[in-house]
């Protein structure tokens, strides 16, 4: 068997790492810095990757890199900075009206996610977008599985309220 290289093992998960960091930090520049820090650490500690789950391993390092940056900056306060609205995923198969509706929905969902506390936002991103199991999320976030479950339930309740899904007449479909 060929030796495992950083480029083959960890680099394929760079997009996932960036997406996670981007949701943690809510802006491109900070996300880039976090992932860059994380990769320096990942290269240094590559030999400590014993199991086969390079993706969850990289997420853990990204989280640590992010956490040491925010505690250094002593700036854990939650801003409500919103995005410039460039990175939407319009579906070209839709007609213009449907596309507008879809973009509108995406913007609402992103704003809703961004106003969640970061602990809640993180479990939603790792579970819904990255598809990690409860056990993997618990390892990445460094909390018990029970905490992951309660954060997920509370985060979803809060998102349902923000997105008005709990209202009798549901506005988003």
């Amino acid at each position: 068997m060929r030796p495992r290289l950083f480029e083959e093992t960890v680099l394929p998960h760079l997009d996932a790492a960036f997406n996670y960091a981007r949701w943690l930090t809510r802006n491109d520049t900070d996300a880039e810095d976090v992932v860059q820090d994380a990769c320096v650490r990942a290269i240094r500690f590559f030999s400590s990757l014993r199991n086969d789950d390079a993706r969850a391993w990289l997420f853990t390092i990204v989280r640590n890199a992010w956490y040491s940056r925010v505690s250094r900056k002593a700036n854990v306060a939650e801003g409500t900075r919103l995005n410039d609205g460039q990175d939407e995923w319009p579906d070209n198969a839709l007609d213009p009206e449907e596309r507008l509706l879809q973009q509108h929905t995406i913007a609402l969902v992103r704003a809703a996610l961004e106003q969640l506390p970061v602990d809640f936002r993180e479990v939603i991103v790792l579970r819904e977008i990255e598809g990690l199991s409860y056990k993997e999320i618990a390892e990445v976030a460094g909390v018990p599985v029970g905490t992951v479950m309660s954060r997920l339930a509370r985060a979803r309740e809060r998102l349902q309220t923000i997105l008005k899904l709990n209202a009798p007449r549901e506005t988003l479909r």
Binding site: D15, R50, D52, A54, V109
Partner: protein
Amino acid sequence: MSCELVERDLDAYLDRELDAAASTAVREHVRTCAACRRQFARRETLSRLVRGAPYYSAPDRLRARVLAQSSQSHSVRRVLAWAAAAVLVLSVGAGMTLWRAASMRGDVIAAEVVNSHVRSLMANHLFDVQSTDLHTVKPWFLGKLDFSPPVVDLATSGFPLVGGRLDYVGGRPVAALVYQRQKHTINVFVSPAGGDPSTDNVVSTVRGFNLLHWIHNGMSFWAVSDLNSAELGEFATALQAS
């Protein structure tokens, strides 16, 4: 089962984290309780909406910087990587399903499958034929392979076919079929199986990627993705049922 219990277990149920007995209890309750069914529907709508949220890909300049850093520590890393590879070889379990020749071990194939998957994503060579139409993809393989791979579209199950290409696994040309689930790509490598006409699923994880291997009607299938194992299992079930 009471509404309170269902409320407590609903998330674990939707995330496929409940055992079979508890799942059945939740399903039974939701079938008969309108209030819980509404909450269930809200959760599903929310999940669909969140999965449509922007996926932020790493900028090219970041990728370039990381690559430069990793090649700087190349010589040191090579030694460490060999050590890591030795650990991997020792830790991969025996008794995996064989590919074709009895001498070709499943774990070697699994590693090759993951390499091909990663290469297809990195080198931007995911498709030789890019089409969601199985009547375009299937004939494309004619004359390029000494077998005809089964090609089906699973869009109705939430796994649209997006294309196909020729690849090499286990020293022979194989058909690679590409499916999509949200932002995740699934590569399925198909080739004739040597021995058993059918086997059950064999699940494994290599370098953070989930793999499923099975043999059906004399054809060997390897499905690989960064999708979680539950959804990859769902994909395999849909493919096997088609």
